[in-house]
């Protein structure tokens, strides 16, 4: 049973996002037969889709919308009754509930999403999404394209072999879309989108950098919302301008020393995904002078590389080989986490164990071990990020209260 829901926003710019999102879904639904619709997983390079005028629907985001609108129980249940185990990704169960639930499923937010012409999924984030997309392909009888890339668990490299493979997969991807749409990729347009996307990304990196300030100018409550344009409106002027405004606002707050709470008593790192059906939990600490100063799920800490090649596809292949944002080897993760704790002046870490997001879930115990070894206070809470039936308010609040007490008593 969840009593509170959306996070309180402290920044003005953040408040622009819901309208942007609503517009995005409305336009997407309206476009009907004018543009081909691709159902995508996070990580599919939207610059390419933008450049080819594809109406891209990112399903994981739609699942978080369903969760935020408190519809996850109904959708998950419908998905489970359609045969999908409770073990699998909460986002997938929500979408399978949406697709197959029929009358049992709740009413879809925004009137639903545009029907797809094809599906595209990347292979290098997690297993679940591949099984999920294969399932949707079967259900809808539509082609599914898998965008593959070298896994590189230890991060970036410059190996030619990897670049060649990465490039070949991007080219295959382009070829697939060209086949589906009957139009050719305009590489100049892609170059434009790519440069713009990188600019937005770099502004976000700056903003993340600025969040090291004390008092915290922007916490996780705002952060999880403001990542949205960068993920789903990539390569657009709208997105670029949004981040510029946000950058200004954050700069101003730092200049005027405007924090999230009147008196900042402790700073937290949220490791793992938030509970989309109860984002207000991120504000809970504020009553006690605490802020979730930083989160690691969508952490942007590396600026874009300068262009590596004239041809935008080659450029993308080389850059992504040199920077593997999805590399989740535990050693790397542990290092990054310790850096975050140090650089963001973090007093304690909340480890959110989201059982159905296996990718993040798998690493949390080891992260806890690392934090324990370094005597960094931490609290583990186990709750799915999308399925609100796993949330027990009483239990969670009790544990948070104890941790908050610990944080407060730890102050000199």
């Amino acid at each position: 049973m969840v009593t509170s829901t959306s996070a309180k926003k402290h920044l003005q710019t953040t408040l622009e996002v819901p309208a942007l999102r609503k517009k995005y879904y409305a336009e997407s639904l309206q476009q009907g037969t004018n543009r081909k619709v691709a159902w995508c997983s996070n990580g599919i390079p939207s610059e390419i889709l933008e450049a080819m005028d594809i109406n891209a629907v990112y399903l994981e985001n739609y699942a978080t919308v369903c969760a935020a609108k408190r519809l996850s129980s109904g959708f998950c249940r419908a998905g489970e009754r359609a045969g999908f185990s409770q073990d699998v990704c909460g986002y997938a169960r929500i979408l399978m509930g949406y697709l197959l639930g029929g009358e049992e499923a709740p009413e879809a937010p925004y009137g639903g999403v545009a029907k797809p012409d094809f599906l595209v999924v990347n292979s290098y984030s997690c297993d679940s999404r591949m099984g999920w997309f294969a399932t949707m392909g079967r259900t809808l009888n539509l082609p599914v394209y898998v965008l593959d890339a070298p896994y590189q668990p230890q991060g970036g490299c410059t190996e030619d072999v990897n670049v060649i493979y990465s490039e070949s997969q991007l080219e295959d991807f382009v070829a697939f879309i060209e086949e589906q749409t009957g139009t050719k990729l305009d590489r100049d347009k892609l170059r434009e989108k790519l440069d713009l996307a990188r600019r937005s990304h770099d502004i976000q990196v700056d903003i993340f950098e600025m969040r090291k300030a004390i008092p915290s100018p922007m916490g996780a409550g705002d952060a999880y919302t403001i990542v949205w344009p960068g993920m789903y409106l990539t390569g657009t002027k709208e997105c670029d301008e949004f981040y510029q405004r946000l950058h200004s606002e954050v700069s101003e707050r730092i200049e005027k020393k405007i924090g999230i709470v009147p008196e900042e008593k402790f700073r937290l790192l949220w490791s793992g995904l938030p509970f989309w059906y109860n984002m207000a939990l991120l504000n809970y600490f504020e009553e006690f002078g605490g802020v979730v100063a930083i989160e690691n799920a969508y952490f942007r800490y590396q600026k874009s590389l300068p262009s590596q090649h004239k041809d935008p596809i080659k450029d993308m292949a080389i850059s992504s080989t040199m920077r593997r944002p999805y590399a989740d080897d535990i050693e790397q993760r542990a290092e990054i986490t310790l850096d975050i704790v140090r650089d963001y002046h973090v007093d304690g870490v909340i480890l959110a164990f989201n059982p159905s997001c296996r990718l993040m879930y798998v690493l949390q115990p080891e992260l806890k071990n690392v934090l324990d070894r370094h005597e960094i206070p931490n609290l583990s809470i186990e709750c799915d990020m999308a399925d609100e039936r796993t949330y027990s308010e009483g239990q969670i609040k009790t544990r948070l209260d104890a941790f908050i007490e610990r944080m407060l008593s730890g102050r000199k």
Binding site: M1, S73, R77, E80, R81, G83, Q86, E388, R389, T390, S392, G394, Q395
Partner: protein, 256 residues
């Protein structure tokens, strides 16, 4: 010739004596009682039927503890016996939902009454008789009255967790907040019905649906299930003996 069926569950033992297409006697004993020891239970049932051991042609044992019944000639699974018993009671049965003390199962039958698929839930407590017992203790309402009381509520207090342990802590918190018992019970029954539907949806559901097991006596649960299924279910007059009945029928068949 009389035939005997005995269902040795972890919580209850039931016996049916069957002859000439009718039930001569039946008996339900809870384990821990002296009479629940299989041989004793069979003796008592024979006594009630006015028969002695010699007049019993064949015995079939079912239930979790069936292998301990040394006087049986055959041992059969609960799935098969529940199905057989349900079909005898309702010739049009195509789905059996057995809600036992510790475990539940759903059985799908083809048009000839043969089992075609089944699914068991013996991991999750919610929906079982023992779950209701623990809730009864928590809420200080006798098990037999829980259903009736739940029906009296106009609105339900949501118990949304999908886990019995969570449900317990939620119920406690509702009690502390002073929520009326009938409303909590209504919410509880809804949650349980949802869990049962999760199990049931693992097979294709065809009418008619027969509900068996002690939990089938609960009117509020029956109502919630019927609402979710969209149609009425068939309720045996003695839902706890369906397994033993099926075993007795099998005993009759075995002997020709």
């Amino acid at each position: 010739m009389a035939f005997g069926g005995i269902d040795v569950g972890s919580v209850n033992t039931s016996v049916v004596i069957f002859e000439d297409a009718r039930i001569l006697s039946h008996l339900i004993v809870s384990s821990g009682e002296l009479d629940s020891e299989p041989r004793r239970a069979m003796e008592k049932a024979l006594e009630a039927a006015g028969l002695d051991w010699g007049e019993l042609a064949t015995v079939v044992a079912t239930g979790r503890g069936r292998s301990g019944v040394d006087f049986a000639q055959k041992w059969s699974s609960e799935v098969v016996c529940q199905a057989r018993g349900a079909i005898w009671l309702f010739h049009t049965a195509r789905t059996v939902i057995n809600l036992g003390a510790e475990s539940s199962r759903v059985i799908s039958l083809n048009e000839y009454g043969k089992v075609q698929s089944f699914a068991t839930n013996d991991k999750c407590a919610a929906g079982s008789g023992l779950f209701f017992e623990s809730m009864s203790y928590l809420m200080e309402v006798p098990v037999a009255e829980m259903g009736q009381l739940a029906l009296e509520a106009e609105t339900a207090e949501e118990v949304s967790s999908r886990c019995a342990v969570f449900a317990e802590s939620e119920v406690i918190s509702h009690i502390h907040r002073g929520v009326a018992k009938e409303r909590i019970l209504a919410g509880l029954h809804r949650a349980v019905a949802d869990r049962i539907l999760d199990l049931v949806s693992q097979v294709t559901i065809y009418r008619d649906i027969v509900l068996t097991g002690g939990v089938a006596r609960n009117p509020a649960l029956v109502k919630e299930l019927e609402e979710r299924l969209g149609f009425a279910v068939c309720l045996p007059p003695e839902p706890q003996i369906v397994g033993a009945l099926g075993a007795a029928l099998l005993a009759g068949k075995k002997s020709g």
